[in-house]
């Protein structure tokens, strides 16, 4: 182990900021992070063992107990459930002879759930040893079982298991034509860097990660912050269930994304950039490394880019299963090798980000758009979209529609139009912007996609009339409770209470006061949480309570109070021990 760790630590240059990378290597090799490894890493990086334990226990993909040699995780996204995930899971469990959440006795295989893996257009999906599995069905599972029992290494498995399709259904402004590598930078240098920033300002580009902050303004703030060093970070954490556009952009337009990052670096004066790639997109890692190398070889990264006095390089940092790391300050903490806990603000990342230096964090699509604007100019972009939402938006569409996949529209498009294009019929409602966004009903399909009306990071999940809205809400609420970082009270405790309270109602144990209590709890979690996760965690409940109050009411018992505790059920053991089951051995706790 010592030898292996030496090699891993050496390649990470013994830098504590690369702790995640080191732990990923250890997890891959030993299928967990052994105690002994923790001691060695602690000693070598000169950090405490508790710091390592904290990181290991924070991220879903690290374990302190060995996982199976084939570690299978099945995506828990609502879209997977709609594609019969429950069945897939029980079949896997049966065929592989392993209970969900456990490691098989012989250590060969382990099976568990995981949050959305970003394959909602081709589920039911999962991961095996970190690599994406798509379109799972029974025949595929039968084949998998054979390969696993024969211990065939993953590298020798048929490629079709790992096929990830782009599913670009409707290209628009950006997707129709990728820019040629280097053309954005060449144009920017010819035009002048200052002028190019003005051009981006003129374009009206706003961040594509959800919040919609002006990109030019963010870059300008960062450039103006006093510092000897600056950083550019591309946020490819994409953990919002239903969102998978960044996966496609990085698979087929990575050059342009890297070009956008390099452009930003030139404009703000940064020499180092990071692509923070979610662990679930491990299948993209090698490909992206090759593209980076190609760009170095072509003089588009590294020293003296395009023969100018421009130095910039990009490193890929892989996440390890934590939705919260998409929040920009949590992402920065994670980049620094720590738990992804959002920082206090102010200060903001543009003045104190990575290693407390000014840092620009932008979404994948934002960088891609910026590169195109450098080539085509601000007016070209501004020409599409609406007054306050310039340009186009790339959407990840999944759920009940004939053609799930990637769609690009100018901002301002009506929801109705989108639904008709993707072949959605008998629509009951649409989740716009993922669980943190809004659930809109079929009465609102005239509404527009734009910051003025319905803003979105790109997730668009369609539900037809065969679906139960409360199942959707339950799935999302469990997701947030699972993904809360746990830093602050209202979110750590609040999201878990929300889950309990909602389950009580959905499972038919709620009574009149329970909906009011649910709503009160929603407001608390929303108003007092530290970061965007907690502030939006109650949105699934709030947006559906507003639109479908009767769905909640219908679940309620007709009594005024229903205890959360089953008194008679708790007596079951005593009854068995006393060997009696007469009327006197039962208690009712409320008069029906």
């Amino acid at each position: 182990m010592k030898q292996f760790l030496d090699m891993v630590l050496e390649s990470a240059e013994r830098q504590p900021v690369r702790l995640l990378r080191i732990l990923r290597a250890v997890q891959d090799r030993y299928r967990h992070i052994p105690e002994q490894a923790i001691d060695i890493i602690a000693e070598q990086l000169k950090i405490s063992r508790t710091e390592i334990i904290a990181v290991v226990e924070f991220y879903s993909f690290f374990h302190r107990q060995p996982q199976g040699r084939y570690d299978i995780l099945i995506s828990d996204s609502i879209t997977d459930w709609m594609l019969d995930k429950a069945n897939i899971m029980s079949y896997l469990s049966k065929v592989l002879k392993v209970d969900v959440g456990t490691v098989r006795g012989d250590g060969l295989v382990s099976l568990n759930n995981t949050s959305c893996t970003g394959m909602c257009d081709q589920g039911p999906a999962g991961l095996i040893n970190g690599y994406a599995l798509t379109r799972l069905d029974r025949p595929k599972i039968d084949d998998m079982a054979v390969l696993i029992e024969q211990a065939v290494p993953l590298s020798e498995w048929p490629a079709e298991f790992f096929q990830v399709s782009d599913n670009i259904q409707r290209p628009g402004l950006l997707l129709q034509q990728a820019i040629a590598p280097g053309s954005g930078l060449t144009r920017a240098l010819a035009r002048g860097l200052k002028e190019t920033l003005t051009e981006i300002e003129k374009s009206g580009l706003r961040g594509r990660g959800g919040a919609g902050f002006s990109t030019a303004m963010k870059w300008r703030f960062c450039a103006e912050a006093q510092s000897d060093r600056r950083y550019v970070v591309c946020n490819a954490d994409e953990g919002e269930p239903g969102t998978f556009k960044d996966r496609v952009l990085l698979n087929s337009y990575a050059d342009q994304v890297f070009e956008g990052m390099t452009l930003c670096a030139a404009l703000i004066g940064a020499e180092q950039g990071y692509l923070y790639l979610r662990g679930e997109y491990r299948h993209l890692e090698d490909k992206l490394q090759k593209i980076l190398q190609q760009r170095r070889d072509d003089g588009l990264l590294g020293q003296n880019i395009l023969g100018q006095e421009l130095n910039f390089d990009i490193e890929i940092c892989m996440g390890a299963g934590a939705y919260i790391c998409g929040e920009e300050s949590a992402l920065i903490e994670s980049l620094e090798g720590k738990c992804g806990i959002p920082r206090n603000r102010p200060p903001y990342p543009v003045t104190q980000g990575y290693l407390h230096k000014p840092t620009v964090v932008n979404n994948v699509e934002t960088f891609m758009a910026a590169a195109a604007i450098a080539v085509n100019g601000g007016d070209w972009f501004k020409g599409a979209g609406t007054e306050r939402s310039a340009g186009s938006k790339i959407l990840s569409i999944s759920g009940d529609c004939a053609k799930p996949g990637i769609y690009e529209y100018p901002f301002g498009v009506a929801i109705k139009q989108i639904l008709s294009d993707c072949g959605a019929v008998d629509v009951q409602g649409v989740q716009v912007g993922g669980p943190s966004g809004s659930f809109i009903s079929d009465q609102e399909l005239e509404r527009q996609l734009a910051f003025e009306d319905l803003a979105t990071g790109g997730s668009f999940i369609v539900f037809n009339n065969s679906r139960h809205v409360l199942d959707v809400v339950k799935n999302f609420t469990h997701f947030f409770a699972h993904e809360s970082c746990g830093f602050c009270t209202p979110c750590r405790v609040g999201t878990s209470l929300l889950k309990k309270q909602l389950d009580k109602i959905v499972d038919g144990h709620g009574s009149a006061g329970d909906v009011a209590a649910l709503e009160e709890l929603c407001q608390l979690v929303k108003n007092y949480s530290h970061c965007g996760l907690g502030q939006t965690a109650a949105n699934p409940v709030l947006t559906t309570l507003q639109r479908y109050p009767e769905l909640y009411q219908r679940q309620l018992k007709k009594i005024s109070y229903e205890p959360g505790f089953d008194l008679d059920g708790a007596l079951e053991v005593a009854r068995r021990m006393a060997n009696r089951d007469d009327a006197g051995a039962h208690l009712t706790q409320v008069e029906e």
């Binding site: 001691d39 405490s48 063992r49 508790t50 710091e51 334990i53 904290a54 226990e57 924070f58 991220y59 934590a322 738990c339 206090n344 102010p346 409770a481 699972h482 993904e483 809360s484 970082c485 746990g486 830093f487 602050c488 009270t489 209202p490 750590r492 405790v493 609040g494 999201t495 878990s496 209470l497 309990k500 009160e520 608390l524 108003n527 007092y528 949480s529 530290h530 959360g564």
Partner: protein, 239 residues
């Protein structure tokens, strides 16, 4: 001319770089808090000190005081919500006040009194948490930890030792001890460390001290926490 902020209608002077909590405390205005202590880097996790700054909720312990801020702290709505947040802390762990050695000296309990908390409101988690009684002088009862991070900060910032950390995610968070066995006895903690004396609840206790001060004669049996906090903290905030 010194700059001022306004808290509940009262003009309060502040110095550049002060947080709202610091300015308030120096001016004898109490804002409820648990994870904050004037000697340590602000944490901003308990959320009890939430105030409305120009209509927006912020934590007073981390948010900088800035000219022109109009702050609401004592409204009925805020006090009720703080009560709910305190109740969350109570149901998350296992707090049996009458049987706890810290009773009467516990800040969590005292904040509960201050906010007129009469029940726990929320369903209990009944979390199964352990006790670490391995150390000859010090006891950790994990049932009462509220993850305020004060022991972590005190050990790091004052004792220079780094004995504690908070591990895990979400509701599974737990306090971990920096030693090969994970037990307190194998760490380099000492009963005189600041970290041992800072805990606002009964999670970290000193052994063989039990009932030295009888119940009924303890701090918060006689004084409200606002009074005690201002007396102890306003000076260090004054700088």
């Amino acid at each position: 001319m010194s700059k001022t902020i306004r808290i509940d209608g009262k003009e309060i002077p502040f110095e550049e770089g002060q947080t709202i909590m610091e300015a308030a405390s120096a001016a004898d205005v109490y804002i409820p808090h648990l994870c904050h202590h004037p000697d340590y880097t602000p944490h901003g996790s308990c959320k009890l000190c939430s105030v409305q700054v120009n209509g927006r909720n912020c934590t007073a312990c981390t948010f900088p005081a800035l000219e022109g801020q109009d702050i609401i702290s004592q409204s009925q709505e805020l006090q009720e919500d703080r009560q709910r947040i305190t109740q969350m802390l109570f149901v998350e762990g296992n707090h049996f006040c009458p049987g706890c050695e810290k009773t009467g000296n516990c800040q969590l309990q005292a904040v509960g009194y201050y906010l007129n908390m009469l029940d726990n409101h929320f369903p209990h988690f009944y979390a199964r948490r352990e006790m670490d009684a391995s150390h000859p002088d010090i006891l950790i009862d994990h049932n009462r930890c509220i993850f305020c991070n004060l022991c972590v900060r005190a050990s790091r910032e004052k004792d220079g030792k780094n004995v504690f950390a908070i591990s895990g995610r979400g509701i599974n968070k737990r306090l971990v001890v920096n030693s090969s066995s994970g037990q307190l006895k194998d760490s380099d903690i000492d009963v005189n460390d600041s970290a041992v004396h800072i805990c606002p609840t009964g999670a970290i206790l000193i052994k063989r001290q039990g009932f030295r001060v009888p119940i009924g004669q303890r701090i918060y049996d006689h004084h409200q926490i606002d009074e005690v906090a201002l007396e102890q903290e306003s000076e260090s905030h004054g700088r």
